[in-house]
């Protein structure tokens, strides 16, 4: 399996994925990292996620609360706000439109019938003048 993932691609969709994941249940920072890793973002690091969480909170798309833990220090749990839920719906629509467009463009550029799309040739006799 090819696990190469363009970090720029991830950066663009990470806020949406965070909102979607938090929408299925509030979570604290490290738990959210592991949930996203379990979902397939295996190379996601906490250092990538925390700035995104901070921005979402600053923009009012997630809210947080500190929950005391008997096993250690208090944890900061995040949950989407109404604005965050609306943003997730908007981002999902936008992503689906983009994904559809990308799929169409890629499909159009991929020859399914080898005879239908001849490969470029260096044969001088086939060059147009």
């Amino acid at each position: 399996m090819d696990d190469d993932r363009d970090p720029q691609l991830l950066k663009g969709v990470l806020p949406m994925l965070v909102l979607a994941t938090l929408g299925r249940g509030e979570s604290y920072g490290y738990e959210l990292v592991t949930r996203l890793q379990d979902a397939g973002l295996t190379d996601l690091a906490a250092g990538t996620l925390y700035p995104v969480l901070n921005r979402l909170e600053r923009e009012g798309r997630v809210s947080s609360r500190l929950v005391a833990s008997s096993a250690g220090p208090a944890r900061k749990y995040y949950v989407p706000t109404e604005a965050g839920t609306a943003e997730l719906a908007r981002a999902q629509r936008s992503w689906q439109r983009l994904a559809g467009t990308v799929a169409r463009v890629l499909d159009a550029g991929t020859p399914t019938d080898p005879g239908a799309a001849p490969a470029p040739t260096d044969d001088p006799s086939r060059r147009t003048r």
Binding site: G29, Y30, A45, G47, P51, G72, P73, K76
Partner: protein
């Protein structure tokens, strides 16, 4: 509640010191350092401090992540302060070096007293077998020079103009 070992505290604080310097541009830099301290401490309870810190990546890269999410560039006041302090310190050092050089020269010439007036301040250098001293006065020109050097280096070092750049 589990207490962190001394080594874990040192690892955490060493990381946070570097992070706090790198993230100083951020308007909420202290809150960020507090947040990262809480998160890394909580995470260390599950996977250990070294792994928790490693998960954050390089402190400068983490700081750049927070700054990138801010969407604009901000002044670096602490860096400006350091630059300005070094510049004024260099000015003071040059003054001392000049005074010591003058006294040394006077001694080589057999000793005596020399009076010089620079930027409105009169300074008397005395170097004899019994006395070695410098007496000077303060002038507004020197104060203006010091303030100017401080201000220019502070503005340049802190990129103060970023405070007025559009958000």
């Amino acid at each position: 509640m589990t207490t962190l070992s001394l080594r874990d505290r040192l690892v955490r604080e060493a990381y946070l010191t570097r992070f706090s310097w790198a993230v100083q541009d951020h308007p909420q830099d202290r809150a960020l350092v507090r947040d990262v301290r809480r998160e890394v401490t909580a995470t260390a309870e599950e996977i250990g401090m070294r792994a928790a810190v490693a998960g954050l990546g390089h402190p400068r890269v983490l700081a750049e992540g927070y700054l990138a999410e801010l969407g604009r560039r901000t002044p670096r006041w602490a860096t400006g302060g350091v630059w300005a302090g070094l510049a004024v310190g260099a000015l003071v050092y040059l003054g001392f070096a000049y005074a010591l050089g003058t006294l040394d020269t006077l001694l080589d010439l057999g000793g005596g007293t020399l009076t010089r007036t620079t930027l409105g301040a009169t300074t008397e250098y005395t170097a004899t077998a019994d006395v070695l001293g410098v007496e000077t006065s303060v002038s507004w020109q020197w104060l203006v020079l010091g303030a100017g050097v401080f201000a220019v280096t502070f503005v340049l070092g802190s990129r103060a103009w970023r405070a007025w750049s559009p958000a």
